[in-house]
Assembly symmetry: C2
């Protein structure tokens, strides 16, 4: 199991998420060619496959196998772990003010 923070700490994985957000349901080979063409990333298929494994382990992508192809879908749900942990003005408006935040001395 990989947490969201580690999964996001890699520019290649972030670019993969970008591309899946633009066009969902791509296969490993499609992602490989797009990374090579549009991002000048000359990585091996196995490298990309491992990145996809990390992203899936973190819950950021879901996969579906049909025949010999495997389709990858972006799932932004785990990103809520970040905004829930440190709410900012933009992410609090549906949850109300944060009542846990105080400025009391420790102890």
């Amino acid at each position: 199991m990989v947490d969201v923070f580690r999964a996001l700490d890699d520019e290649t994985r972030r670019t993969i998420l970008d591309e899946l957000a633009l066009r969902d349901g791509q296969t490993l080979f499609e992602i490989c060619s797009i990374l090579a063409m549009r991002h000048d990333l000359s990585l091996t298929r196995q490298a990309i496959s491992q990145h996809l494994g990390v992203l899936e382990s973190a819950g950021l992508i879901a996969t579906e196998r049909r025949g010999r192809s495997k389709f990858h879908y972006f799932n932004p749900a785990p990103l809520a772990d970040i905004t829930d942990r440190w709410p900012t003005e933009k992410t609090t408006e549906r949850r109300g003010p944060n009542e846990n935040r105080t400025d009391q001395p420790v102890r």
Copy 2:
């Protein structure tokens, strides 16, 4: 310069942000004792100092020096880099629908 994603990829640094969110403006020694007392983290002062350096380099904390003390303040602004890059339902309501997101075939 450290980006937000790398800075967040460490549980100790995330805990530091938690504590600064609870009580802002703490010094290095205060953070050290709180991590030891409330989180069972037995790290050296230098380790914590390096973590604070990473967080500051990522813009997640601001510092202010007075006398021989240095106070640390949580700045959640860089977290917007994450929600802006992959908008979710909760983070889009002030920016309107994302018009860049399409499902057109590539090329």
